[in-house]
């Protein structure tokens, strides 16, 4: 499975696996959005730790979930962006939104 959803104390984590392109982003988006609408989490974590490749569709996926969570009154945090994909994130200007946390910061937030 490309997306694993974990809910915990009103927060939700979507762990993403494999390659993210325009084709696969669509399925991921549908899974994440339907789970978010059901659970209405205060924070949605998008965990890119298992992602082996992404093109700009990965950025579109983050932007779209940012909008979804705005509508639901929650926040988005992005975890574990692989080194090889950092240039893509820089290009996108998304870093200005302060969505990016290191994997370990998540646990600190949760405690």
């Amino acid at each position: 499975m490309d997306v694993k959803i974990i809910t915990d104390h009103g927060e939700m984590t979507a762990k993403l696996y494999g390659e993210i392109d325009h084709h696969r982003a669509r399925e991921m988006r549908e899974m994440i959005d339907s789970a978010a609408e059901r659970n209405k989490p205060s924070i949605l974590y998008l965990d890119f730790g298992g992602v082996t490749f992404m093109d700009s569709s990965g950025i579109g996926l983050i932007m779209g979930r940012y909008r979804t969570m705005n509508l639901l009154g929650g926040e988005v945090r992005v975890l574990n962006i692989p080194k090889s994909m950092e240039r893509m994130v820089e290009l996108s200007g998304l870093s200005a939104l302060n969505l990016f946390a290191k994997g370990s910061e998540k646990n600190e937030v949760k405690k």
């Binding site: 392109d21 325009h22 669509r26 490749f53 093109d55 700009s56 579109g60 090889s84 893509m88």
Partner: protein
């Protein structure tokens, strides 16, 4: 520049072919013994160009996408991605970062990524006729001769 090797492929503009297209190009290039970073750069740029063909050129239809890869002496790779779709009304505007007609889930970064991940990007487009994107990248290849 002396041509050392070449391949072409044609496939339908279905989104399920995006992975095939970038992997096929990466696989052909791999005989130059590129670094993992170089392979990722090429896969990413090809993925953007092919996605443009699917999302924009053949928006409401399925058409053919043509890829041609040439390898020149000195490990210079030239990749042409061509469609016979709707064409681009204003190429300069389309290449601006964050400009998109693709809706909320598209970042508008396609051409910016192609430019950042390769050495040279050339776009020739004619409305109603189609678009050809040419990507050029020199690999710091570890093999001197192919």
């Amino acid at each position: 520049m002396k041509l050392k090797n070449e391949m072409s492929l044609t496939f339908e503009s279905r989104s399920s072919n995006e992975g095939f297209a970038r992997s096929a190009v990466a696989s052909f290039i791999s005989q130059l013994d590129p670094t993992i970073g170089e392979i990722t750069d090429i896969k990413t740029a090809v993925s953007e160009a092919v996605t443009n063909c699917i999302v924009h050129a053949y928006k409401e239809s399925v058409g053919q996408i043509y890829i041609n890869v040439k390898v020149y002496e000195g490990a210079v790779v030239v990749i042409k991605i061509k469609d016979k779709g709707c064409g681009i009304h204003d190429v300069k505007q389309a290449m601006e970062p964050l400009f998109t007609t693709g809706g909320e889930e598209r970042a508008g970064l396609g051409f910016a990524v192609m430019q950042s991940f390769t050495d040279k990007v050339k776009v020739i487009s004619k409305e109603g006729k189609g678009t050809t994107v040419t990507l050029e990248k020199r690999l710091m290849s570890r093999i001197k001769d192919v």
